[in-house]
Amino acid sequence: MTELLTAVSIGAGNGSVYALLALGFVIIYKAMSVISFAQPAFMLSGAVLVSHLSPRMGFVAAVVVGTIAIAVVALVVERVAVRPMVGKAVFVIAIITIGIDIVVRVVAGAFVGVDPRTIGDPWGLDVTTIGGVQVQHRHIAAFVVTGLVVALLFAFFRFTRMGLAMRATALDQEAAMAQGVDVGRVFAVSWALAGALAAIAGVFASAGNPIDQNLWIIALTALPVIILGGLDSLGGAVLGGLVIGIVQAVVSTYHSTWFPFLDTNSGAIVPYVLMLLVLLVRPQGLFGTKEVERV
């Protein structure tokens, strides 16, 4: 039992990272109907930037500054590389985002260096025992911060003028334009938000481990997460992230008894198997909306 709960706590921590990344994908998808494959690069560059900043200004300030900086980078990338392509086929824009991903990742990778870099987080591998279950601080932190970010994000979409305009644009772009919504600004804000979310995810993904060039691979797990949760659902992204994180951690814990022939790799296939199972039952994903319509 303790073993299971420990696995769940690890899963909730990792799942929070997936949730943050998935939110970025979903926000851009809702605004532009494009899946941006540039998220992994923003995640890596967020982690690298924070690792450079934290010795100078302390960890918390570094995370805040790093997140804002990556949001600005995403904003610039959108303006320079994506905006001129608006109106082209969705497929074309998706491929361009892959190009952006590679460029940004190579640039960020150059700052990783040869010595092991750490993010400078205060948690390391410290552990607190709650009711006999050992929970790592970094996982608690990831979970709590993600909860906070998600709450802020939902408030933004519900109560602010820009957030509401973004939801309206997602539903009917032309009608939103007729109301005076500047769609270009909506694209820009969605990229900035996605960049910021990826940077925060990068921080928690590399907390406790040295940063390496392959950190971005974690971000690919967000793809099955968004399909599982429903491409256009923010709530689905959060829940999908947590579900996949937890199931993955549980399977990784028990893999030697359940799937001895797979050795230690069984965790890696979990997101995709889960995605497949959910899609068989609900083709639109767990929370993807079927159209609201009065017949």
């Binding site: 003028r161 509401l164 305009a165 939801r167 309206a168 539903l171 009917d172 772009q173 032309e174 009608a175 939103a176 334009m177 007729a178 109301q179 005076g180 919504v181 500047d182 909306t289 159209e291 609201v292 319509e293 009065r294």
Partner: protein
């Protein structure tokens, strides 16, 4: 005054939708725009609200002026700020948002006056008050049209461009929409009304234009258009000679008279 001068609009570089259209929408008046399907009515509204781009259309010649200043290169957001608000054909409300959220999006161009305008819209459409927190997609057709008009009024526009507000509505609801348009106009908003329902449009308009294949073919005060024999026959469905004409009795060469040919 909103004025269109000799406007030529082309879609996808090949399809000519408007061929030299000129109309005027004075402040505080109702101007009706009649015409069959494909005459270019919606294209004209799109050029006025800057939404041609979405449909791969562009203005080739001529221009649009607002109080004498050229506005045809402005983006939709800027035009909405200057008080030109387009109510799209088919209502196009944000179905998954609530009624109130729909209205708040409508106030995007004038966030400071949102409170006052919300009161004004709820005065005009008491039905929307009851349904304030409901998902807009579940409203009835008439209520959705009211919401679409209310949403446009949320930024206090000077000119309201209405594209087929009576489309698909029951006759009684059409009557309500007509009364609302008159009410909005009496509060000082200029209205450009595109309609297939010519009887309704001409009964409230001050001035009317008839369009055909991208051209304006008639340009007269609404009362004159209502009395015109051709308009009566082709747009109001009232026979020229007798009270009622059966289609069986109409000779094929008389069915459709074209002004522009």
């Amino acid at each position: 005054m909103l004025a269109v001068n000799n406007l030529e609009v082309v879609y996808d570089d090949v399809v000519v939708a408007l061929r030299g259209v000129s109309i005027e929408v004075p402040d505080g008046r109702i101007v009706a725009l009649l015409g069959a399907n494909g005459a270019g009515k919606s294209s004209l509204l799109r050029s006025l609200s800057g939404l041609l781009d979405v449909h791969h259309g562009e203005i080739r010649k001529g221009g649009i002026t607002l109080d004498g200043e050229s506005v045809d290169s402005l983006r939709p957001a800027q035009l909405a700020k200057r008080g030109i608000k387009h109510v799209l054909e088919g209502r196009r409300i944000f179905k998954e948002l609530t009624v109130e959220e729909n209205l708040r999006v409508g106030a995007h161009a004038a966030p400071r006056d949102a409170g006052d305008n919300m009161t004004r819209v709820f005065d005009l459409f008491p039905r929307l008050v009851e349904r304030r927190q409901q998902t807009a997609g579940y409203l009835s057709g008439g209520e959705q049209q009211m919401l679409a008009i209310g949403r446009a009024l949320m930024s206090g526009p000077r000119y309201l461009l209405l594209d087929e507000p009576s489309l698909g509505l029951a006759p009684r609801v059409v009557g309500q929409i007509r009364d609302i348009i008159v009410e909005i106009n009496s509060q000082g908003t200029g209205v450009l009304l595109v309609e297939q329902n010519a009887t309704m449009a001409l009964s409230i308009a001050h001035h009317g234009y008839v369009m055909e294949t991208g051209r304006v073919v008639m340009d007269r005060p609404a009362s004159e258009l209502l009395a015109d024999d051709d308009v009566r026959e082709f747009y109001l469905g009232i026979g020229g000679d007798e009270e009622r004409t059966s289609f069986r009795d109409v000779k094929h060469y008389r069915r459709r008279k074209r002004w522009a040919s």
